[in-house]
């Protein structure tokens, strides 16, 4: 009996040895178990396009509604269309900066009456808000046609130059150029040499514009000027100068009105002189100088528009931004499937917003301390965004190779949300990082 067991034991031992010598490896999980979940990808390729269209439509709608509110002014004649190019640029950029809008407009309220560029940059951003600044966004619909015609035609370049000159004139703010130029320089879209070329062009245009408008103002503003000059003799001048300028500036948002007074005062004075008498001469003396001084960084819009023509502006800015930030997203080119385009668009918006934030931080010296956490924040978000995109790409590719149905994005999103929450709880991720990650996933 005991020997029976011994015999069995030996038999089993021999069998097991044979078995062991034949097995080469620890049993590995079969391929089917490797794929834990079957992701059902819901036609996400279509959604991005729709989202884009919806967005473009909403921008147009906002612009049109703003346009309908604004009273058509006779002063703005042929330059209206010309100005739209800038507007297009601004509105497109605006679409990307939606995240920062509220933040920026809040800053605009606390306007500090100094001449530094940072404050002016705030105002420029306010202009980008299509709901406030109807005039700038007027005739948005015509722009694509005007723009798309650009292909070496001097006419368009002049149009753009005109528009900008008008802008400067209307705002009485030379900083318009600085803002635009600095931004574009920062984005790497233009070079300094290009700036010089247009400097003179715009100066000339501005010169003409002032001369033209000076004549108009003489006629229309004559009555109100008479009234107000009487008051001028009584008051010190700040209020009247404001009144003098209420007409041309009535188009602008009220926010700018009061607080901008002090800054504009000087220019108002100058222009008042222009209105009063030697319109052409004085204006000619003053404005070109001012224009030239401030048009240091003016972009070469002509070339810019040419390049704009061939691309989606969003994508181009994004590309420049990316190269500036020195990080690659891992996506080969823009002709990738539309599903990737959505990711790209989201990324460009986030990046443009970040660039805007960074730019503004840099401009304002008082905010330098806050600069590092804020600029780090964009860097972190971008890294996370890249990582998430790589995962999505891999999931798509992986499921394709396996021959399975596409992954389920919503399931993945739920899973990640859950994980993020648990990580936040354990102190592995900070709350704001977790929110960023969730936001990225919900934007997919």
């Amino acid at each position: 009996m005991a020997s029976k067991y011994v015999g069995l034991f030996i038999f089993f031992h021999i069998v097991s040895l044979n078995v062991m010598s034949q097995t080469s490896a620890f049993p590995t999980p079969t391929a089917s178990t490797n794929d834990k979940t079957v992701y059902n990808r819901q036609l996400t390729e279509e959604r991005p396009i729709q989202a884009q269209i919806a967005e473009a439509d909403s921008v147009k709608a906002a612009v049109q509604s703003a346009e309908s509110k604004r009273p058509t002014s006779s002063k703005v004649t042929e330059s209206q269309q010309d100005r739209d190019g800038l507007t297009l640029l601004k509105s497109l950029a605006d679409g990307q900066k939606t995240q920062v809008k509220t933040e920026v407009s809040a800053k605009g309220v606390q306007y500090v009456p100094d001449e530094s560029d940072s404050t002016k940059s705030r105002r420029l951003v306010e202009d980008y808000d299509s709901t406030k600044n109807g005039m700038d966004n007027g005739k948005y619909q015509d722009d694509p046609e005007t723009f798309r015609q650009v292909d070496g035609t001097p006419l368009t370049a002049e149009d753009i130059v005109q528009k900008i000159a008008n802008k400067i004139y209307e705002e009485d703010d030379r900083g318009v150029f600085d803002r635009i130029v600095s931004k574009l320089l920062k984005l790497g879209l233009i070079t300094d040499s290009q700036a010089d070329t247009l400097e003179y062009q715009v100066a000339e245009a501005l010169q003409d514009l002032i001369a033209k408008n000076a004549k108009n103002n003489e006629i229309e503003g004559a009555e109100s000027n008479d009234r107000e000059t009487k008051e001028q003799q009584d008051d010190q001048g700040s209020d009247t100068n404001t009144d003098t300028w209420e007409q041309p500036r009535s188009r602008y948002s009220n926010k700018e009105g009061d607080e901008a007074d002090d800054d504009v005062e000087e220019e108002a004075d100058k222009d008042a002189e222009v209105q009063g008498g030697n319109a052409g001469d004085e204006g000619n003396e003053v404005s070109p100088e001012d224009g030239l001084q401030d048009l240091q960084y003016f972009p070469n819009f002509y070339l810019l528009l040419r390049s704009l023509d061939s691309e989606n502006l969003d994508a181009m800015i994004a590309m420049q931004t990316k190269s500036k930030l020195g990080k690659s997203l891992g996506l080969p080119d823009f002709t990738a499937p539309t599903g990737k385009n959505l990711d790209e668009d989201d990324n460009t918006k986030a990046e443009a917003a970040k660039m805007q934030r960074e730019y503004e931080n840099l401009k304002d010296s008082t905010k330098e301390e806050q600069q590092s956490p804020e600029t780090r924040q964009p860097g972190k978000s971008q890294t996370y965004l890249e990582a998430i995109r790589k995962n999505i790409e891999w999931l798509k590719k992986h499921n394709k190779e396996e021959g399975k149905d596409d992954y389920d994005l919503s399931k993945l999103k739920d899973f990640m949300d859950q994980q993020v929450d648990s990580y936040i709880e354990k102190g592995i991720i900070a709350k704001d990082e977790g929110d960023t990650i969730k936001r990225i996933y919900s934007s997919l």
Partner: protein, 453 residues
Amino acid sequence: MKLFLTVLLLGAAVASATSAGTDGEISYEYHRYEELRKALVSVWLQCPTITRIYTIGESFEGRELLVLEMSDNPGTHEAGEPEFKYIANMHGNEAVGRELLIYLAQYLCNQYQQGNETVIELIHNTRIHLMPSMNPDGFEKAASQPGEIKDWFVGRSNAQGVDLNRNFPDLDRIIYVNEREGGANNHLLQNMKKAVDENTKLAPETKAVIHWIMDIPFVLSANLHGGDVVANYPYDETRTGSTHEYSASPDDVMFKSLAKAYSIYNPVMSDPQRPPCRKNDDDSSFKEGITNGGAWYSVPGGMQDFNYLSSNCFEITLELSCDKFPDEDTLKTYWEQNRNSLVNYIEQVHRGVKGFVRDFQGNPISNASISVEGIDHDITTAKDGDYWRLLAPGNYKVAASAPGYLTVIKKVAVPYSPATRVDFELESLMERKEEEREELMDWWKMMSETLNF
């Protein structure tokens, strides 16, 4: 032999395959605590199905002791799947290891997604834990030093001034006594939880790691240091107390094999012509890029020996750079020198003998002992009855035993790799008694029938 050559070829293939892969996505720079955290989170975001971040506790100053786990089923121990860990930067100013583990995490994730079969197989069959920094407080101190040259000592110890690699309970003392006078040859820390929690001398980082070792049935491990270039194996503390003395452990043969498996792919470490890091250094104990700990210099209370003597885990110490905190622009080179070694060392966990110990009903028997004849060091089965016994190639008699069960011995021929599967079914003593009783009854019945009474 053939198998050995095959494995060598495989290893070479690994080396060439991995060098052909893209390292382009890794940025080689020092990571402070926040950046370290961000880097691990990014890896997790890129590879969420095969990674998981967790923390084993907090440092003295409250920084999380972060671990990135990589496996095909992160968060769980799969029965039969061996557990592996890398720990770096326990000396805060020994910075290269910390960075290498971050790069390794990124690398494994990238390679997995790019279809690198070696990496995929490794991640599917192993549970890999990477702890880039056991002493994040020390690192911050070291990294905050102004200027390029970092002091040899600043940031080495934790925020309390404790050298973590001298802070572990000294079990070498106990094993040496047991060797002479008899006693247990494994799991020497009695009442482990109590001993740890009530020990006021243990730094929070040390405590956290000890708990970690107790919770997870690690099989193989390495801890990463700087200040020299060599792979160091147990025992670290000399038997007689002298400053230099070769102090072999029962698994000396296997440890040498493990240490060599690392050094062989590191061209600097394995270079026989390599001059010592400093002119007057005594590296006479270094052979082929490896050294016995005690032969180099005696280290009491170290983490390496603690692993071996308190748990089933075999750990070696890797010294990876002459300079403890070298220039950032050298990090890429260190990565290239160590990448293949780091991957190959993880693969060493799939060696020797492994399997399950169950009773006759198929239930797993946890905490059963697995002893190998001729090697005075036993290991135990984990909760699912699974075990992994690292062994160098050879013929062995492997015994599985558990209280209340009859011991079973099996003969095994072990190749270099992969691990040989040996399962045990143990008969409990009660069962045997029952059988014998039944046999006796049968015999008595037969006798009575024959003899007619």
